[in-house]
Point group: C2
Chain length 145, copies 2
Amino acid sequence: MEQRVSLITLGVHDLARSRAFYEALGWHGDEVEETVFFQAGGLAIVLWGRAKLAADAGIMDVHPSDGFGGVTLAHNVRSAAEVDDVIAAALGAGATVTRAPAETFYGGYAGYFADPDGHLWEIAYNPGFPLAADGTITIPEFGQP
Amino acid sequence: MEQRVSLITLGVHDLARSRAFYEALGWHGDEVEETVFFQAGGLAIVLWGRAKLAADAGIMDVHPSDGFGGVTLAHNVRSAAEVDDVIAAALGAGATVTRAPAETFYGGYAGYFADPDGHLWEIAYNPGFPLAADGTITIPEFGQP
Protein backbone atom coordinates (compact mmCIF):
# COMPACT_ATOMS: atom_id res chain seq x y z
CA MET A 1 0.00 0.00 0.00
CA GLU A 2 1.57 3.26 -1.07
CA GLN A 3 1.98 5.90 1.64
CA ARG A 4 -0.65 8.36 0.46
CA VAL A 5 -4.32 9.31 0.64
CA SER A 6 -6.63 10.22 -2.24
CA LEU A 7 -9.83 11.40 -0.59
CA ILE A 8 -10.89 12.52 2.87
CA THR A 9 -14.63 12.07 3.09
CA LEU A 10 -16.56 13.88 5.79
CA GLY A 11 -19.97 12.45 6.55
CA VAL A 12 -22.51 15.26 6.89
CA HIS A 13 -26.12 15.59 7.94
CA ASP A 14 -27.04 18.42 5.55
CA LEU A 15 -24.99 18.60 2.36
CA ALA A 16 -26.12 22.10 1.38
CA ARG A 17 -25.32 23.49 4.84
CA SER A 18 -21.85 21.91 4.83
CA ARG A 19 -21.07 23.03 1.32
CA ALA A 20 -22.13 26.58 2.20
CA PHE A 21 -19.92 26.49 5.28
CA TYR A 22 -16.77 25.58 3.34
CA GLU A 23 -17.60 27.97 0.52
CA ALA A 24 -18.01 30.77 3.09
CA LEU A 25 -14.38 30.04 3.97
CA GLY A 26 -13.43 30.68 0.37
CA TRP A 27 -13.42 27.12 -0.96
CA HIS A 28 -14.87 26.09 -4.31
CA GLY A 29 -16.57 22.72 -4.56
CA ASP A 30 -17.98 20.70 -7.39
CA GLU A 31 -21.09 18.59 -6.80
CA VAL A 32 -22.12 15.36 -8.47
CA GLU A 33 -24.47 12.62 -7.26
CA GLU A 34 -25.13 14.48 -3.98
CA THR A 35 -21.41 14.49 -3.27
CA VAL A 36 -19.26 17.64 -3.08
CA PHE A 37 -15.59 17.47 -4.02
CA PHE A 38 -13.02 20.09 -3.03
CA GLN A 39 -9.70 19.61 -4.78
CA ALA A 40 -7.04 20.16 -2.11
CA GLY A 41 -3.57 19.84 -3.55
CA GLY A 42 -3.02 16.26 -4.68
CA LEU A 43 -6.11 14.91 -2.96
CA ALA A 44 -9.72 15.91 -2.46
CA ILE A 45 -11.87 16.65 0.55
CA VAL A 46 -15.34 15.24 0.00
CA LEU A 47 -18.69 15.92 1.65
CA TRP A 48 -21.23 13.10 1.54
CA GLY A 49 -24.28 12.15 3.55
CA ARG A 50 -23.19 10.50 6.78
CA ALA A 51 -25.69 7.63 6.53
CA LYS A 52 -24.70 6.94 2.93
CA LEU A 53 -21.04 6.96 3.88
CA ALA A 54 -21.56 4.48 6.71
CA ALA A 55 -23.60 2.22 4.44
CA ASP A 56 -20.97 2.44 1.72
CA ALA A 57 -18.29 1.43 4.21
CA GLY A 58 -20.39 -1.52 5.32
CA ILE A 59 -20.72 -0.47 8.95
CA MET A 60 -23.45 0.52 11.36
CA ASP A 61 -23.58 4.13 12.52
CA VAL A 62 -24.34 3.18 16.11
CA HIS A 63 -23.88 6.60 17.70
CA PRO A 64 -24.74 9.09 14.95
CA SER A 65 -23.60 12.04 17.01
CA ASP A 66 -21.62 15.17 16.46
CA GLY A 67 -19.21 14.00 19.16
CA PHE A 68 -15.54 13.20 18.75
CA GLY A 69 -15.02 10.94 15.78
CA GLY A 70 -11.41 10.15 16.60
CA VAL A 71 -10.00 12.08 13.65
CA THR A 72 -8.83 15.67 13.24
CA LEU A 73 -7.61 17.56 10.21
CA ALA A 74 -4.93 20.20 10.49
CA HIS A 75 -4.50 23.19 8.25
CA ASN A 76 -1.09 24.73 8.79
CA VAL A 77 -0.48 28.38 8.03
CA ARG A 78 2.53 30.68 7.93
CA SER A 79 2.06 32.87 11.00
CA ALA A 80 0.24 33.16 14.31
CA ALA A 81 -1.73 36.08 12.89
CA GLU A 82 -2.98 33.83 10.10
CA VAL A 83 -4.22 31.32 12.70
CA ASP A 84 -6.30 34.08 14.27
CA ASP A 85 -7.59 35.15 10.87
CA VAL A 86 -8.73 31.67 9.83
CA ILE A 87 -10.33 30.93 13.19
CA ALA A 88 -12.19 34.26 12.98
CA ALA A 89 -13.34 33.45 9.46
CA ALA A 90 -14.56 30.01 10.56
CA LEU A 91 -16.43 31.57 13.47
CA GLY A 92 -18.02 33.99 11.01
CA ALA A 93 -19.05 31.07 8.80
CA GLY A 94 -20.79 29.38 11.71
CA ALA A 95 -18.10 27.14 13.15
CA THR A 96 -17.75 26.38 16.84
CA VAL A 97 -14.33 27.21 18.22
CA THR A 98 -13.47 24.30 20.48
CA ARG A 99 -10.07 25.62 21.50
CA ALA A 100 -9.18 29.25 21.21
CA PRO A 101 -5.84 29.90 19.55
CA ALA A 102 -2.93 29.77 21.98
CA GLU A 103 0.77 29.08 22.05
CA THR A 104 1.70 25.41 21.78
CA PHE A 105 4.33 23.31 23.54
CA TYR A 106 6.32 23.05 20.31
CA GLY A 107 6.79 26.78 20.00
CA GLY A 108 3.89 27.35 17.64
CA TYR A 109 0.39 28.72 17.88
CA ALA A 110 -2.84 26.85 17.16
CA GLY A 111 -6.57 26.64 17.71
CA TYR A 112 -9.39 24.30 16.71
CA PHE A 113 -12.83 24.72 15.24
CA ALA A 114 -15.63 22.25 14.58
CA ASP A 115 -17.55 22.40 11.30
CA PRO A 116 -21.37 22.08 11.28
CA ASP A 117 -21.10 18.29 11.78
CA GLY A 118 -18.44 18.44 14.46
CA HIS A 119 -15.53 17.63 12.14
CA LEU A 120 -12.50 19.17 13.77
CA TRP A 121 -9.94 21.40 12.10
CA GLU A 122 -6.80 22.50 13.82
CA ILE A 123 -5.42 25.74 12.41
CA ALA A 124 -1.74 25.75 13.29
CA TYR A 125 1.40 27.75 12.87
CA ASN A 126 4.30 25.36 13.43
CA PRO A 127 7.67 26.91 12.62
CA GLY A 128 9.24 23.44 12.70
CA PHE A 129 7.09 22.09 9.85
CA PRO A 130 7.96 24.05 6.74
CA LEU A 131 5.19 24.88 4.29
CA ALA A 132 6.13 25.15 0.64
CA ALA A 133 4.81 27.94 -1.56
CA ASP A 134 2.10 25.56 -2.85
CA GLY A 135 0.98 24.78 0.71
CA THR A 136 2.43 21.29 0.89
CA ILE A 137 4.06 20.33 4.17
CA THR A 138 7.19 18.31 4.84
CA ILE A 139 7.67 16.60 8.17
CA PRO A 140 11.29 17.03 9.26
CA GLU A 141 13.40 14.03 10.20
CA PHE A 142 13.35 13.87 13.94
CA GLY A 143 16.48 12.77 15.75
CA GLN A 144 16.33 9.57 17.72
CA PRO A 145 15.32 10.22 21.33
CA MET B 1 -8.68 29.61 4.35
CA GLU B 2 -6.72 27.96 1.57
CA GLN B 3 -8.24 24.81 0.08
CA ARG B 4 -5.80 22.27 1.47
CA VAL B 5 -5.02 20.01 4.43
CA SER B 6 -1.67 19.58 6.18
CA LEU B 7 -2.21 16.71 8.61
CA ILE B 8 -4.76 13.95 9.08
CA THR B 9 -4.51 12.81 12.68
CA LEU B 10 -5.97 9.47 13.67
CA GLY B 11 -6.65 9.05 17.36
CA VAL B 12 -5.48 5.62 18.51
CA HIS B 13 -5.71 3.55 21.66
CA ASP B 14 -2.31 1.84 21.35
CA LEU B 15 0.30 3.79 19.44
CA ALA B 16 2.71 0.85 19.03
CA ARG B 17 -0.04 -1.40 17.70
CA SER B 18 -1.20 1.20 15.19
CA ARG B 19 2.31 2.04 14.05
CA ALA B 20 3.02 -1.68 13.55
CA PHE B 21 -0.19 -2.04 11.55
CA TYR B 22 0.72 0.70 9.06
CA GLU B 23 4.33 -0.43 8.86
CA ALA B 24 3.11 -3.95 8.06
CA LEU B 25 1.44 -2.34 5.03
CA GLY B 26 4.80 -1.02 3.94
CA TRP B 27 4.67 2.47 5.41
CA HIS B 28 7.58 4.15 7.17
CA GLY B 29 6.81 6.42 10.12
CA ASP B 30 8.86 8.73 12.25
CA GLU B 31 8.04 9.05 15.95
CA VAL B 32 8.49 12.04 18.22
CA GLU B 33 6.75 12.91 21.51
CA GLU B 34 4.57 9.76 21.31
CA THR B 35 3.31 10.86 17.91
CA VAL B 36 3.98 9.00 14.66
CA PHE B 37 4.17 10.92 11.38
CA PHE B 38 3.84 9.30 7.96
CA GLN B 39 4.70 11.68 5.13
CA ALA B 40 2.03 11.14 2.47
CA GLY B 41 2.65 13.31 -0.55
CA GLY B 42 2.24 16.94 0.42
CA LEU B 43 0.67 16.18 3.78
CA ALA B 44 1.18 13.79 6.66
CA ILE B 45 -0.92 11.11 8.30
CA VAL B 46 -0.37 11.20 12.05
CA LEU B 47 -1.07 8.68 14.81
CA TRP B 48 -1.63 10.11 18.28
CA GLY B 49 -3.32 8.92 21.45
CA ARG B 50 -7.06 9.37 21.11
CA ALA B 51 -7.51 10.91 24.57
CA LYS B 52 -4.65 13.34 23.97
CA LEU B 53 -6.11 14.30 20.62
CA ALA B 54 -9.56 15.01 22.09
CA ALA B 55 -8.01 17.04 24.91
CA ASP B 56 -5.88 18.99 22.45
CA ALA B 57 -8.96 19.81 20.39
CA GLY B 58 -10.75 20.99 23.49
CA ILE B 59 -13.60 18.50 23.35
CA MET B 60 -14.97 15.64 25.42
CA ASP B 61 -14.66 12.14 24.04
CA VAL B 62 -18.15 11.15 25.10
CA HIS B 63 -18.39 7.84 23.26
CA PRO B 64 -14.83 6.57 23.03
CA SER B 65 -15.80 3.72 20.77
CA ASP B 66 -14.41 2.09 17.69
CA GLY B 67 -17.70 2.87 15.93
CA PHE B 68 -18.20 5.08 12.93
CA GLY B 69 -16.44 8.39 13.42
CA GLY B 70 -18.08 10.07 10.45
CA VAL B 71 -14.89 10.20 8.38
CA THR B 72 -13.35 7.85 5.85
CA LEU B 73 -10.08 7.97 3.97
CA ALA B 74 -9.78 6.69 0.43
CA HIS B 75 -6.68 5.30 -1.18
CA ASN B 76 -7.16 5.09 -4.92
CA VAL B 77 -5.20 2.62 -6.97
CA ARG B 78 -4.72 1.88 -10.66
CA SER B 79 -6.62 -1.37 -11.16
CA ALA B 80 -9.22 -3.66 -9.64
CA ALA B 81 -6.49 -6.23 -9.03
CA GLU B 82 -4.60 -3.70 -6.94
CA VAL B 83 -7.71 -3.16 -4.81
CA ASP B 84 -7.75 -6.88 -4.06
CA ASP B 85 -4.03 -6.86 -3.30
CA VAL B 86 -4.22 -3.98 -0.83
CA ILE B 87 -7.30 -5.36 0.92
CA ALA B 88 -5.54 -8.71 1.24
CA ALA B 89 -2.44 -7.03 2.65
CA ALA B 90 -4.55 -5.11 5.16
CA LEU B 91 -6.30 -8.30 6.21
CA GLY B 92 -2.89 -9.89 6.67
CA ALA B 93 -1.81 -6.95 8.83
CA GLY B 94 -4.81 -7.41 11.10
CA ALA B 95 -7.42 -5.13 9.56
CA THR B 96 -11.12 -5.91 9.53
CA VAL B 97 -12.63 -5.88 6.06
CA THR B 98 -15.93 -4.05 6.47
CA ARG B 99 -16.92 -4.27 2.80
CA ALA B 100 -15.44 -6.84 0.51
CA PRO B 101 -14.23 -5.43 -2.80
CA ALA B 102 -16.97 -5.21 -5.41
CA GLU B 103 -17.90 -3.27 -8.49
CA THR B 104 -19.20 0.25 -7.82
CA PHE B 105 -22.02 2.26 -9.37
CA TYR B 106 -19.50 4.56 -11.06
CA GLY B 107 -17.89 1.78 -13.00
CA GLY B 108 -15.06 1.18 -10.59
CA TYR B 109 -14.16 -1.39 -7.97
CA ALA B 110 -13.70 -0.77 -4.25
CA GLY B 111 -13.66 -2.24 -0.76
CA TYR B 112 -13.17 -0.95 2.77
CA PHE B 113 -11.10 -2.01 5.74
CA ALA B 114 -10.97 -0.72 9.31
CA ASP B 115 -7.62 -0.22 11.03
CA PRO B 116 -7.08 -1.40 14.64
CA ASP B 117 -9.03 1.63 15.96
CA GLY B 118 -11.84 1.41 13.44
CA HIS B 119 -10.51 4.14 11.15
CA LEU B 120 -11.92 3.33 7.74
CA TRP B 121 -9.97 3.14 4.51
CA GLU B 122 -11.64 2.72 1.17
CA ILE B 123 -9.37 1.13 -1.41
CA ALA B 124 -10.75 2.15 -4.77
CA TYR B 125 -10.15 1.85 -8.45
CA ASN B 126 -12.03 4.70 -10.12
CA PRO B 127 -11.27 5.02 -13.83
CA GLY B 128 -12.90 8.48 -13.81
CA PHE B 129 -10.46 9.94 -11.29
CA PRO B 130 -7.02 9.92 -12.87
CA LEU B 131 -4.02 9.19 -10.66
CA ALA B 132 -0.74 10.83 -11.60
CA ALA B 133 2.53 8.94 -11.53
CA ASP B 134 3.24 10.41 -8.07
CA GLY B 135 -0.10 9.17 -6.76
CA THR B 136 -1.84 12.54 -6.64
CA ILE B 137 -5.45 12.59 -7.75
CA THR B 138 -7.33 15.17 -9.77
CA ILE B 139 -11.09 15.41 -9.53
CA PRO B 140 -12.52 15.98 -13.02
CA GLU B 141 -14.84 18.86 -13.72
CA PHE B 142 -18.30 17.44 -13.61
CA GLY B 143 -20.88 18.76 -16.03
CA GLN B 144 -23.84 20.62 -14.60
CA PRO B 145 -26.76 18.28 -13.96
